[in-house]
């Protein structure tokens, strides 16, 4: 099932558009672990994301970033509150394929070529062969992998694999992209380049993005808004508005720009203002 073929073009701040891309109201998530014990991963989280808006989630490990993303994607169910995606329940939105998703590990199927990996969601939803390959062609070009279309994942570098995963997440032209640390496994140089490409791709497709990251510069460079979270239980402790101009014009130079440094400092302070996370002492 392919949804709405072409997006409404969206500029950086389309806050006022008709229905919100995401609307999370007082969502909470409690995990039942071993007999009796429970983990409150999220507590009373509310967040609205406008169509075309780029929102990053940042916070120390275990603060519930992934959990929040997974609730939106209906990969887990909220234990309280309400989550709407384009006005539908998360479940309905998943069934209607309203979003594309990418994870920290690219999660490509190793036995499928680049092209076949990108075609996977289309294939699952019964899109015909010619249509599928035409769309894959477009996407491969978009992520700059034209020469690698018939390579297999193990023949690609980490960065290239992530680009395939991003192309795959865009296959059905979703109006919403959910990304959980998609660049977490990349080295910093590659990472910076991927960020720039993501910014470009997002402005071109006009999709709203929820982007989980650990990196302050990354969050600042990419986002319209940075949502800062704190752990135990996971809450939103601050939202930093960033204004670096439209995505299409963001470039490397920006990183040495004072607005960028200001954004970094603002997010850093929001983060550190939150009760200091115990330094990785939790047992795994």
């Amino acid at each position: 099932m392919v949804t709405t073929p072409v997006q409404t073009p969206a500029t950086g701040a389309a806050h006022a558009a008709s229905v919100a891309a995401i609307s999370v109201r007082s969502a909470g998530k409690v995990f039942q672990v071993a007999k009796g014990a429970e983990v409150r991963a999220l507590d009373d989280v509310s967040l609205t994301v406008a169509p075309g808006e780029f929102v990053s989630l940042i916070g120390p490990s275990g603060c519930g970033k992934s959990t929040l993303l997974r609730l939106i994607a209906d990969l887990d169910e909220a234990t309280s509150g309400e989550i709407l995606v384009f006005g539908k329940t998360a479940r309905q939105a998943r069934i209607d394929q309203e979003y594309g998703i990418a994870f920290q590990s690219a999660g490509l199927l190793p036995w499928r070529s680049v092209q076949a990996n990108i075609e996977l969601p289309l294939e699952l939803h019964g899109v015909g062969k010619t249509e599928r390959s035409a769309r894959a062609e477009e996407l491969i070009e978009l992520v700059g992998l034209t020469d690698f279309r018939s390579r297999f994942p193990d023949q690609l570098s980490g960065g290239m694999q992530q680009r395939v995963a991003i192309a795959r997440s865009l296959a059905e032209r979703p109006k919403l992209l959910l990304m959980d640390e998609p660049f977490g496994a990349l080295d910093e140089m590659t990472r910076e380049r991927m960020q720039q490409e993501l910014v470009r791709i997002c402005s071109e497709t006009g999709a709203a993005v929820v982007f989980v990251t650990h990196s302050i510069p990354e969050a600042v460079f990419l986002s319209d808004r940075v949502v800062v979270m704190s752990p135990r239980p996971g809450r939103i402790v601050g939202i930093v508005d960033i204004d670096l101009g439209p995505g299409t014009q963001r470039s490397e130079g920006l990183r040495e720009n004072s607005a960028f440094f200001e954004g970094v400092t603002a997010v850093r302070e929001a983060l550190h203002g939150s009760p200091a996370a115990p330094m990785g002492v939790e047992l795994r």
Binding site: R70, G107, L109, W111
Partner: protein, 291 residues
Amino acid sequence: MRGPGVAERGNGHPEPAAGAAAGAGVPAGVSAAAVRGPGRGRALVRSVLPPLVLGVAFLLLWQLVVAVFDIKPYLLPSPTDIAGQVVAVFALLLSSMLATGLNALIGLVVGGVLAVLLALVASRLRVFDRMIVPLVAGLAVVPIVALAPILNTMFGSTSDTPRRVVVMIVVFAPIFINTLRGLRQVRPVHRDLMRAYAASSWQLTRTVTLPGAVPFIFTGLRIASSLAVISAIVAEYFGGLQNGLGSRITSAAANSAYPRAWAYVFGAIILGLVFYGVTLLLERFASRRRS
């Protein structure tokens, strides 16, 4: 050459197709094509020469010992005696290999398919899983000797079926256990992905679970392949058609015609290696495309 994998590795790193390249050693920028070419010939020499030398040395020593100590053939025939018999009974040797090989093949294929199918069911149906896994553990330790006589009466000793059933039973356990492990190996990220695509459980099986289990299936198959031949041979020992290697070996041995018996043993070894080699090739072929 990789050894037949250990069927059950209790720990979590079964990665059956783990590459041999050590860590980050593989250079960037050097195209894979450069690795082939004449380098391959030398690699072949390096992997074939040592076992060949060892084998020839072993045979020579064997021959020498038999000659020097004048060992009677009923105690230990010499390699040349055996080779002489291989030539003498060659036509019969081939037909026996064919007969036993066919039994082993049919048993292997039917048992293998059954094992994969039941593993699929077990991976989907928890109740079935819990009931069958202990049974398979039992099956894995049934000695062939125990089964053959009973199967002979059950299916009739004039048919090849009892032997094929023996092979099926013997190959079932390693393939089933490995396949099931492979099917359970689905990476959470793939599971999440398929859920995000609202994929049906059949789609999950077809596109993710089953292809992901292929290397595991092959690990099981590799172990099963040589077992299939041995068990087909041993099964012949308890009656039935007298056209295979097993009955030829025993009947030669009963007449103390050990050089002839060993000529058939030689056939058995070749057959075992053929089975093993073909599985290895299939595995190579199927896993060409994997990390």
